[in-house]
């Protein structure tokens, strides 16, 4: 989970804390490129792909983590 948080912070280019219950779209750093960066590490590190329609349903950092780890 720590690794996941690090990857997420890197994708968002965020230095502030990331908590599992946070709504990631509310971060200042959230953007369409951050979204692509997240897709990139999900593919690269977790061999996971999430379709755009399904990604819209993910709200919290916990949701993202679950998508990567429960396949």
């Amino acid at each position: 989970m720590q690794k996941f948080i690090e990857l997420l912070k890197e994708a968002l280019e965020r230095e502030d804390e990331v908590r599992m219950e946070d709504n990631f779209r509310e971060y200042d750093e959230w953007s369409s490129i951050a979204y692509l960066s997240i897709i990139a590490f999900m593919d690269d590190q977790y061999d996971t792909q999430v379709e755009e329609a399904d990604f819209k349903k993910l709200k919290t950092v916990q949701d993202l983590y679950n998508a990567c780890t429960n396949k």
Binding site: S31, S32, I33, L36, S37, I39, A40, D43, E51, E52
Partner: protein, 347 residues
């Protein structure tokens, strides 16, 4: 082989694209996509005009005898008319003989590679000696300036390539692929015959919770799904093509990618551990010109660098979805300076 390109004179600087968008948004998008500026045609200029200007330059610079041209293929998804094919109009404008084989290829971002494959095959089979492959797009007329996801990405351009059949060129290899299950990832929903034009289809509507607007006759793109598709399929196709030809990525002098955005290409380069000094880029100055982006990158960045024999690997992907990898030897390819077009004429 010889190549030339023409772009509209009008430069649209993304940081100054603030009629609809704030300076902050514009700056952020430039930082994230790497697209500083693009070229936009005026209302009197079409893709065919860009290609016509590029072809005239190509002909002049290379002393081409028009009577010897046997084949003209025009690639575009922004043709002059729905009917007739623009290639035939160009046959007449260029003063080519009536026995010139002329047709259009309507495909999108991977079309230049498909086009090369088609022209090479046709020439090889039919004994043709000289062909023109033209590729032009005016994507500035396709996407809504009020749709933030697309407004800053696309630009216009046209290229012309002279293709000659000669043993000195050696063998080319193409991998050409299609996946229609993803047809709705990048689309102009109305204006064809499935959903014909009407008073409603041309009206710009708000299409999401952010206030982005477009009509059904303007393009949309599902960025996330396109990215997923690219990172999964493109490295795999390149690896398969290399295996088929028993070549390694280091064997190539240049690797030319479709210029969709910096992020995608950097990611692929990183994933495949490519030597970035061999990967030219024109996204910064032309944006995404769809099928024109691979050839215009060659014309813009490889002028003077293609003397002798050079091995190029080209990779293009996009609307369809279709994707292609091409391994093509270039021998003494003469590249003309890029020219500018305004009001349909070279300036």
């Amino acid at each position: 082989m010889a190549m030339a390109a023409a772009v509209p004179k009008r430069i649209v600087k993304n940081r100054e694209y603030t009629e609809v968008w704030s300076q902050e948004v514009a700056n952020e998008i430039v930082e994230k996509t790497g697209i500083e500026e693009r070229r936009f045609v005026d209302e009197n200029t079409c893709s065919s005009d860009l290609c016509f200007a590029a072809t005239e330059k190509l002909i002049a610079d290379n002393n081409i005898n028009k009577e010897e041209i046997e084949l003209l293929v025009f690639i575009s998804q922004t043709p002059d008319y729905r009917m007739p094919a623009t290639s035939v109009i160009l046959q007449h404008r260029l003063g080519l003989p009536n026995n010139t084989i002329a047709f259009d290829i309507v495909l999108g971002c991977s079309a230049f590679l498909y086009g090369l494959s088609v022209v090479f095959s046709l020439m090889g089979k039919s004994g043709l000696k000289k062909a023109l492959l033209l590729d032009g797009e005016t994507r500035s007329k396709v996407y809504s300036p009020r749709d933030r996801r697309n407004a800053f990405l696309f630009g216009d351009g046209g290229v012309a390539a002279l293709i000659e059949r000669d043993l000195k060129f050696g063998k080319s290899t193409f991998s050409l692929n299609s996946d229609g299950s993803r047809a709705d990832l990048i689309m102009i929903p109305a204006g064809g015959y499935r959903h014909m034009s009407s008073a409603e289809t041309v009206v710009e509507k708000v299409i999401d919770e952010f206030g982005n607007m477009r009509s059904d006759e303007q393009g949309y793109m599902r960025g996330g799904d396109v990215f997923n598709f690219v990172i999964r399929e493109i490295p795999r196709d390149i690896i398969n093509t290399l295996a088929f030809t028993e070549k390694a990525i280091d064997d190539f002098d240049y690797v030319v990618f479709h210029q969709a955005n910096n992020f995608i290409n950097s990611y692929i380069a990183k994933k495949m551990k490519l030597d970035t000094t061999k990967i030219p880029s024109t996204i910064e100055k032309f944006g995404n010109t769809s099928s024109v982006s691979v050839p215009i990158t060659i014309v813009s960045e490889l002028k003077g660098k293609l003397d002798g024999k050079k091995e190029l690997l080209m990779s293009a992907f996009g609307v369809g979805m279709t994707w292609a990898t091409g391994i093509v030897p270039f021998v003494d390819c003469k590249i003309s300076d890029i020219i500018e077009v305004e009001n349909g004429q070279a300036v």
